[in-house]
Amino acid sequence: MTRTTRNLDPNPHFPVRTRTTPTTKLKLWLAFALTVWVCDLFGAETLRYVAKPGGAKVTIEGTSTVHDWITEGKIIGGSFEVEPSFRTDLTLKSVQSLHGKAPPPNVEVFIPVTSLKSTVLAGREKMDEVMREAMRATENPRITYKLTSMTLKDPVPESGSPAKFNTKGQLQVAGVTNTIEMEVTMERLEGDRLKFSGKKALKMTDFKIAPPAPRLAMGFIKTGDEVTIRFEWIVGLSTAP
């Protein structure tokens, strides 16, 4: 198509340009190269660790007018994505994202509410029902966490373990999200696996959960607002793209 045929264009206000100049070609090529480079940097070569079964543990400890209680789970899902130097530099000194010099690792974690079980020896089903109701599990089947900041707290030994981090993230429980700060410890396990552990004291009311006061055998009991959540999360290097 040339300019002489332009008048035949059905819509003269939006002329069709099909001819590419050498300059355009160069620009396209550069754009392509840039895309590949960026993908290399932040996509394909990002290490992705995914949750692995066995060894994961989460406990929620609380109090009541009668006795302390513990709810326990063995499933923590999610993934941890970080730059490649994380794997090779065991002291983590060169890992930019853990020193505030680059966006933090991409970390998303979830815990299915139904996987949390009361450790009481008799009447577990009742306790679990109380918990499911309190956590509005039907509408919010998962506890979720998204990391927003992660910085190395102390120097890491040459062995790579333990590494301590100061973290910040968005914790969602029963559909209510709060920002929480937490110290997290990481250990390197065999088979390119990592164990993250930590604990955090939380208030049920911060998540709009009224502390349950179920009627049990000994009458009404009232649970305390404060609970402590502890976790051990196992992830392994994903071989999948």
Binding site: G77, G123, E125, M218
Partner: protein, 486 residues
């Protein structure tokens, strides 16, 4: 037999993990006895570390102070699991009625090949979809668990297809009418980790019997000596039907070729108690059978005796008749320190004069049986009730039937099982079946007490071997290997 006798008598292995043996541990130390009594709840269990505690808890939490109003006043403990019923005969309809009393067991489908039975089931479950072919019911995606209550000899294909269709299965006892079928069912259930299988041995889910089981496992009998059980009922066991063909169909229990007989259909629930309480498998059984009362062309004896031999010289005599109703149903366990009687879901202990004192029996409620004094054993009843002499407390009646306990356990365990699979596969690689199995094994430790494929299979083997012995008036050795699935 004598050469096998263990001079030390029987003992309960110390490694035995009782389903509810630690229930009293959950009793909070902060609550004093005074507070317990003030609260007035009969559901407070396990005072003074006594073993008589139930595992049920819904009844605990909702039982009124008197414990005798009989109301089904409890909440569902798990979200609902949609059930389908296959086999809508009298027992199937009993299951249907029981399911309708549970808040979390909606029956969404019913199936029977006989239209009149289906129609009757529909009056009990008007919302349920009706199927004439069980395969169509299994294809119904709404159905999450099935209750199989067809004649025993028809279980095999239905149960195996249900397991293949990934439906949780409640299979009535006996699992099948022959050992080969029962083994096939148990194997399929064992291999399919994603399915919750429960055998219809409802005693094993009954809080009252569970309570007794843990008491027996404390070794209270001293040295177990023997057991005697009976089922006496004057009834024909024959059902009426409009056509000769249907008569034959509904009276499958009377046909020796396919019927597990009195000992297989009824005795199984009682014999299982001995295997369970003593953790023993019979090594031989001698049977006698005769037709004394109902000479109506049937080929199945209406009068049977089976004598089981257990390792170490323990005997179980089982007697059943349809010719006399005197003394009804009875289970007796004799030991060197005491005898325990279980009948109509109530239990009593009869102590020997030289038996070691347990302590609590001083205050316990006692009932007189001819020349013997029975100490009442009951779950949901505190033995240390105050003012016992002034005003004897009433032993509470359990408001729930064994079948209610059984179906409730099935629903809760099925729900937890499928929730566990869902939770695991959402977080981890779903193709990692080994890890999934490990996780499910962990979860299984938290099951509400209920018999699985192993208990169902063992009880079926013992009962069917006894039926074989009765049919042939002979002694049959039971090889240990037959109890294994292979």
């Amino acid at each position: 037999m004598l050469s096998e006798r263990d001079p030390q008598g029987f003992s309960i292995p110390s490694t035995v993990k009782l389903p509810n043996q630690t229930a009293h541990d959950s009793c909070p130390p902060e609550v004093t006895r005074r507070e317990f009594i003030k609260d007035g709840s009969v559901a407070i269990l396990a005072l003074a570390g006594a073993p008589l505690t139930g595992t049920g808890n819904t009844a605990d939490t909702n039982a009124p102070a008197s414990g005798t109003d009989g109301a089904t006043d409890y909440k569902g403990q798990s979200p609902p699991v949609n059930l389908g019923l296959i086999g809508c005969g009298p027992w199937g309809r009993e299951l249907l009625k029981t399911a309708s009393m549970l808040p979390n067991a909606p029956v969404v489908a019913v199936c029977d090949t006989y239209p009149a039975a289906l129609k009757r089931a529909a009056t009990l479950a008007p919302e349920a979809k009706q199927y004439e072919n069980y395969r169509d019911l299994l294809a119904d995606s709404k159905v999450e668990g099935v209750v199989v209550a067809t004649p025993s000899h028809m279980h095999r294909d239905i149960v195996i297809d249900a397991i293949k269709a990934r439906k949780h299965v409640y299979c009535e006892a006996p699992l099948a009418a022959n050992i080969e079928d029962a083994r096939a069912i148990a194997k399929a259930a064992k291999e399919t980790v994603k399915v919750n299988f429960q055998a219809g041995l409802q005693n094993r889910a009954d809080r009252q019997v569970l309570n007794l089981a843990s008491f027996m496992r404390t070794g209270v009998l001293g040295r177990p000596i023997k057991s005697r059980q009976q089922y006496h009922k004057k009834q024909s066991w024959r059902a009426a039907a409009p056509t000769p063909e249907r008569q034959k169909e509904v009276n499958w229990r009377l046909d020796q070729a396919i019927s597990p007989g009195l000992v297989g259909e009824i005795g199984i629930h009682q014999i299982d108690l001995v295997n369970w309480f003593f953790m023993l498998r019979p090594t031989a059984v001698t049977g006698f059978g005769s037709l004394r009362q109902w000479r109506d062309g049937r080929t199945v004896p209406d009068n049977v005796v089976a004598i089981f031999e257990y390792p170490g010289g323990l005997f179980l005599t089982y007697e059943a008749t349809l010719g006399s109703s005197f003394d009804g149903e009875l289970n007796l366990f004799f030991g060197s320190d005491c005898a325990v009687m279980l009948r109509d879901r109530r239990a009593w202990m009869f102590q020997e004069i030289d038996a070691p004192q347990l302590g609590w029996e001083i205050n316990a409620i006692k009932e007189q049986f001819y020349k013997s004094t029975g100490i009442v054993l009951a779950a949901g009843y505190s033995k240390a009730m105050p003012n016992q002499t002034a005003k004897p407390a009433e032993v509470p009646q359990d408001p729930k039937s064994p079948l209610q306990y059984a179906l409730e356990a099935f629903v809760i365990n099925s729900y937890n099982h499928q929730a566990a699979i869902r939770d695991f596969t959402s977080a981890y690689d779903p193709s990692d079946t080994n890890a999934l199995k490990q996780y499910l094994d962990e979860i299984a430790k938290m099951r509400v007490p209920a018999p699985g494929w192993a208990e169902g299979y063992e009880a079926t083997v013992a009962a069917l071997k006894a039926n074989q012995a009765v049919a042939g008036n002979q002694r049959i050795t039971i090889e240990p290997a037959v109890f294994e699935l292979g």
